[in-house]
């Protein structure tokens, strides 16, 4: 049975027999390639090659140098670095058995987790209070993003000015609670990390706040209204509609903050230099001490690699999670697959 009956059939026959470029010879004899695909490829590779060249030129030698140092026992007191003796995995062994590094990792994870949760809870809370327009919204918004615009090292010094025992913060707390508050923000080994966390939270609440504001404001109204009409309380609407729809944004806010918190250096260093005791010896701080105070360049390099591996593992995991969320989100909102593909 022919595929097209009636007039369509005749059309088809007509087309098959009509003279075409194949038989007649095309007036334009360009090669049969795909213009757009070719242009895109050309564009793609010219852009990517720049990127790759820059990354390879800058980062590759750096990583190679780092690798060289990790396997050579270079001492700043023993001649040139290029003559250093090959020591195999000795440095790595030293690094992975170094209890100080273990503690530093634990502290960093603690610090990152704590400050991430702190930032998120406060940021999300503020966003929930603020995402609907109200009188003064712009004022609060501007005020709330200010900490993010403050240079971190300024925050560290300001912390020092504010947090000493007889300082303004304890003074204000005393007058609020009506009795002497004597928190040792800067000297208690048990809470020093918490102090850095407080500053980190103050600094980066705006990040979570901004993301969550955007997320909340972008939620479609209809499902929420529908849920309300169906008798859901505000709390139920929040838990069953808003929270699940916001999940990708939440995951993003948490992951980005967590990763940036692990890298935090200026505040912990200028306030405590690892002390009191070793209460604030986090990964970056310890690495700084080993490399720039002990001048153990090789051990520092091996440590950097170990940390790099841990970070890459964390980042890859984070990327995996983010991608899954993104795909889920795309499915929910059915983005314009056909036209952009």
């Amino acid at each position: 049975m022919p595929p097209f009956p009636g007039s369509a059939l005749s059309l088809l026959q007509n087309m098959n027999s009509s003279p075409t470029s194949n038989t007649n010879g095309s007036t334009k004899s360009r090669p049969r390639q795909l213009v757009q695909a070719r242009a895109v490829q050309r564009f793609k590779w010219s852009v990517l090659s720049v990127l790759i060249v820059v990354l390879v030129a800058v980062l590759f030698p750096v990583l190679m140098l780092q690798l060289y140092f990790s396997f050579h026992g270079y001492s700043v007191y023993g001649g040139s670095w290029w003559d250093a003796e090959f020591v195999g995995l000795e440095l790595f062994e030293e690094v992975v058995t170094d209890p100080r590094l273990g503690w530093a990792i634990i502290r960093s994870l603690l610090f990152a987790t704590g400050s991430t949760i702190g930032c998120f809870v406060i940021g999300f809370g503020l966003a929930l209070l603020m995402y609907r327009p109200f009188r003064g919204q712009a004022f609060y918004y501007i005020l709330f993003i200010l900490p993010m615009l403050t240079v971190p090292i300024v925050i560290a010094y300001t912390g020092e000015m504010l947090l000493y025992q007889k300082g303004p913060v304890n003074d204000l707390l005393s007058s609020i609670f009506g009795r002497q508050v004597n928190i040792l923000w800067l000297a208690n080994a048990d809470t020093a990390l918490l102090t850095v966390m407080v500053l980190e939270v103050w600094n980066w609440v705006p990040f979570s706040f901004i993301i969550m504001m955007a997320g909340l404001a972008a939620l479609p109204d209809e499902p929420i209204e529908a849920a309300k009409i169906l008798g859901a309380s505000k709390w139920r609407v929040f838990v069953e509609i808003q929270l699940p729809l916001l999940r990708p944004v939440i995951v993003l806010a948490l992951i980005l903050r967590f990763l940036e918190a692990i890298a935090e250096f200026p505040k912990a260093w200028s306030l405590f230099q690892g002390g009191p005791g070793s209460a604030t010896e986090t990964i970056p701080t310890y690495l700084y001490i080993v490399t720039w105070q002990y001048f153990e360049i090789s051990k520092g390099a091996a440590m950097s690699y170990v940390i790099l591996l841990i970070m890459v593992a964390i980042v890859l995991l984070a990327i995996q999670i983010l991608r899954r969320e993104k795909i889920g989100l795309d499915q929910i909102y059915d983005s314009r697959k056909e036209t952009t593909a």
Partner: protein
């Protein structure tokens, strides 16, 4: 004469999704061709390939017998009107219209004159200094048309140009498009998912589904002679009654049997093999009378103004619909006899193809 031809066009996305399968089509000069089908059928992709926004994975696109696969969209001398109008929001209406000729380095004064001329033609002279955001939907559509008109393209590509407008405006603009086509005498390729638009505008309709052409023909032809279950179902409002059943032999000849009704089939189907089929008949081809073999109870009467629709109870999910004139006085609950005009009966086999014996 602008003759556009698509030869063995295939388009894959990312290697796995096939949007268009082996498409062959020839579009004559001055023809108003409508590509119609449900969303995802490949009609927009086809149009975008003609425009040059997508490259066919294989196959050739020819204009005047020249292969134009190699040409950039800008070099194809085609005009396109988009569903979203795609006006440049940062340019005024007159800048929007002047954009095309400016790209072709036309003299400024000539551009100015032409802009005015075109604006008059689509009646937007009063909008020239406004920004697109200040125009209504219908006005934006006119601007989009004017912007295309001014470049004097060899053919117009229209991608669902009316679907963002409301019903009344859509009807008005539909007439406008029709008028333009007649005045310009250019090739129009028009993509829509709305069968009514296709029927009213097209010289020739191409029905697509799942990346394939299902049927090509004039609106009347498509309506009266659908070659498949799909086409029959797609065209017509209300759509064709389609009843699943089977052909059985009887003494009198072939008989269609189903849970809803049994019909003696006309001579035409004498040679059809017995087996499962779908019977189709358009609502207006069902006669209603007080006596007959097929008695059915009306459960809904839907007056549409000129006509009235009668819905009959069925055991299947599709209801059976008949159209009667509005002056008839049927009420829900009445039982009437249905008379299926034999010459208007279609049969489709289990793969959806029409049975023509």
């Amino acid at each position: 004469m602008t003759h556009i031809e698509l030869k063995n066009i295939r388009k894959e996305f990312g290697g796995s999704v096939v949007a268009v399968k082996n498409l062959n089509l020839s579009i004559e000069h001055g023809e108003f061709l409508v590509l119609v089908g449900p969303s995802g059928c490949g009609k927009t992709t086809t149009l975008r390939m003609i425009a040059g926004f997508e490259d066919p994975t294989t196959g050739e696109i020819l204009v005047e017998n020249d292969v134009i696969n190699e040409l950039e969209p800008a070099e194809r001398n085609l005009g396109m009107v988009f569903q979203t109008h795609a006006l440049f929001p940062h340019k005024t209406v007159s800048e929007n219209i002047a954009f095309g000729p400016r790209m072709k380095k036309v003299n400024k004064e000539i551009i100015n004159d032409k802009v005015k001329e075109v604006a008059e033609m689509v009646k937007i002279t009063h909008l020239l200094e406004k920004l697109p955001a200040q125009c209504s939907g219908g006005e934006s559509q006119r601007v989009a048309v004017a912007r295309t008109l001014i470049t004097d393209p060899s053919a117009f590509l229209l991608d669902e140009p009316l679907s963002s407008l409301d019903a009344k405006l859509r009807r008005e603009m539909r007439a406008e498009v029709d008028r333009l086509h007649k005045e310009l005498n250019k090739t129009f390729i028009y993509v829509t998912h709305d069968q009514e638009e296709a029927m009213t505008l097209a010289d020739r309709i191409v029905v697509m589904d799942e990346g394939e052409i299902k049927q090509v023909g004039s609106p009347i032809d498509i309506y009266n002679n659908p070659n498949s279950y799909f086409v029959a179902d797609f065209f017509g409002s209300p759509s064709m009654n389609l009843i699943n059943g089977e052909i059985v032999n009887s003494e009198a000849g072939k008989v269609f049997k189903s849970l809803i009704l049994n019909v003696d089939l006309p001579k035409l189907f004498e040679n059809s093999a017995p087996g499962p089929v779908t019977l189709g008949i358009r609502p207006e081809q069902i006669g209603i009378s007080s006596s007959g073999d097929i008695k059915k109870k009306i459960y809904l009467v839907e007056p549409l103004g000129k006509d009235t629709l009668l819905y009959f109870e069925t055991v299947e999910e599709r209801e059976l619909i008949a159209i009667v004139e509005s002056n008839s006085s049927y009420r829900s609950g009445d039982t009437v006899a249905l008379n299926l005009l034999p010459e208007h009966i279609f049969l489709f086999d289990s793969s959806g193809k029409r049975i023509l014996n």
